[in-house]
């Protein structure tokens, strides 16, 4: 066993004679399905409720947090029970967790967008007529201003 780095699961430590896979019972799978359906109902219901703000957190953010929390619980149920990660080896578990951790870290990029308005040197977003800030929209505004000779072209705004 010392030369088998992948077989770190304690369940299968018995070797060849022991059973290598674990079988979920029908009752458990049905229970998880019903739980998922129930959570879907809760998330639909919660989306139509204006959750009040709690402390400095605005109500709309609370609504979003509740929706994402429910979705995360549902995802965890699917991963843990339906995808059988609970029976998987420690290596597979770390592998799965690392994947979602990197996803979580990627959202740190939001911090970059949050600081753009503090930039000492003005970026390309200067002069966007809509709200004066950065936008993903073409700099010609309104859209019909894209034709040659329009004010947008004369102001040297980037065409779409």
């Amino acid at each position: 066993m010392a030369t088998t780095p992948l077989s770190t699961n304690t369940h299968g430590a018995g070797g060849h004679d022991d059973h290598s896979s674990h079988i979920s019972s029908t009752g458990l799978l049905v229970g998880v399905l019903l739980l998922l359906m129930g959570l879907m109902g809760v998330t639909i219901w919660a989306s139509f409720i204006d959750i009040p703000s709690i402390g400095p957190i605005p109500g709309i953010v609370m609504n979003n947090l509740v929706a994402l929390a429910i979705a995360t619980v549902k995802a965890a149920l699917v991963i843990w029970f339906f995808m059988g990660v609970r029976f998987a080896s420690s290596l597979a578990k770390i592998w799965v967790a690392a994947g979602f951790l990197v996803l979580f870290l990627m959202f740190g990029i939001m911090g970059d967008y949050g600081t753009r308005k503090f930039e000492p040197v003005q970026g390309w977003e200067v002069g966007t007529p809509v709200d004066g800030g950065e936008t993903a929209l073409p700099r010609t505004w309104p859209p019909e201003g894209r034709t040659p000779g329009s004010p947008a072209i004369e102001q040297n705004l980037r065409p779409r």
Binding site: I23, G59, I79
Partner: protein, 229 residues
């Protein structure tokens, strides 16, 4: 039932290939390999979810107004359909471990039925959006009543991501239909590759659960936006 499960459980794996020490290591390699693929898929969809988060935080009200055109009932039905299909795949894997061929095939067929139902409902939803000029393009928003007062360009951004993300998800459903069909065919033909080893069924199941997983997040984000308050 549990006793039966245990009796059959010891011989549900395929032949041990020479490069592996034992069957646990072999099965673990398959599972970790499949999860490696799924993690790349998580990152693939993750980038789109990031774009969604960024723009929704910037244009909350316009996106809320634009999203009101989506049909929560149809989206909800599709969620139920996908959850059921996820369950039938989990049952198929269970019966593959128990070597109950008929039940595996039955569960895979129900899964395929759910996949088609999902795609048909999605097609009706897409058709309505095309009809209302809500597909990003030159005529986007030319029927203003369907914008619900949202800024046309911000609404277009929302629908760009709506079609992009649900479309990519639908492509995954299509691939799933192909893979599950192939798996069902192998079970019908009593192929050794699936009959003697539950792992192929398990790996297809993992893929299908992932498709369900993406929808679990897409449904509340696209269809169930709370009203800014």
């Amino acid at each position: 039932m549990a006793a039966i499960a245990h009796d059959h459980a010891h011989d549900d794996h395929g032949a041990l290939h020479h490069q592996f020490e034992n069957i646990e290591q072999q099965n673990d390699s398959y599972i970790v390999g499949m999860w490696t693929f799924l993690v790349t898929e998580v990152m693939f969809f993750g980038a789109l979810f990031f774009i969604y988060t960024l723009y929704r935080s910037m244009y909350q009200m316009d996106w809320y107004l634009a999203h009101e055109e989506l049909d929560v009932t149809l989206g909800g039905i599709n969620t139920v359909v996908l959850l059921i299909s996820s369950w039938t795949v989990a049952m198929a894997v269970r019966f593959a471990q128990l070597k109950n061929r008929k039940m595996v095939i039955l569960n895979l067929l129900v899964t395929l039925g759910c996949a088609f139902t999902f795609l048909v409902i999605k097609a009706f939803e897409y058709a309505a959006k095309f009809e209302h000029h809500l597909f990003p393009g030159p005529t986007f928003g030319s029927v203003p009543s369907h914008l619900n007062g949202a800024n046309s360009n911000y609404a277009q951004l929302f629908y760009g991501l709506y079609f992009g993300m649900t479309g990519l998800h639908a492509v995954h459903i299509l691939v799933g239909v192909l893979v599950i069909s192939a798996l069902t065919y192998l079970w019908v033909r009593k192929a050794d590759s699936v009959m003697k080893d539950y792992i192929p069924t398990e790996l297809v199941g993992l893929y299908w659960h992932f498709v369900d997983l993406v929808w679990i997040f897409l449904f509340p984000l696209m269809y169930l936006m709370p009203k800014p308050h």
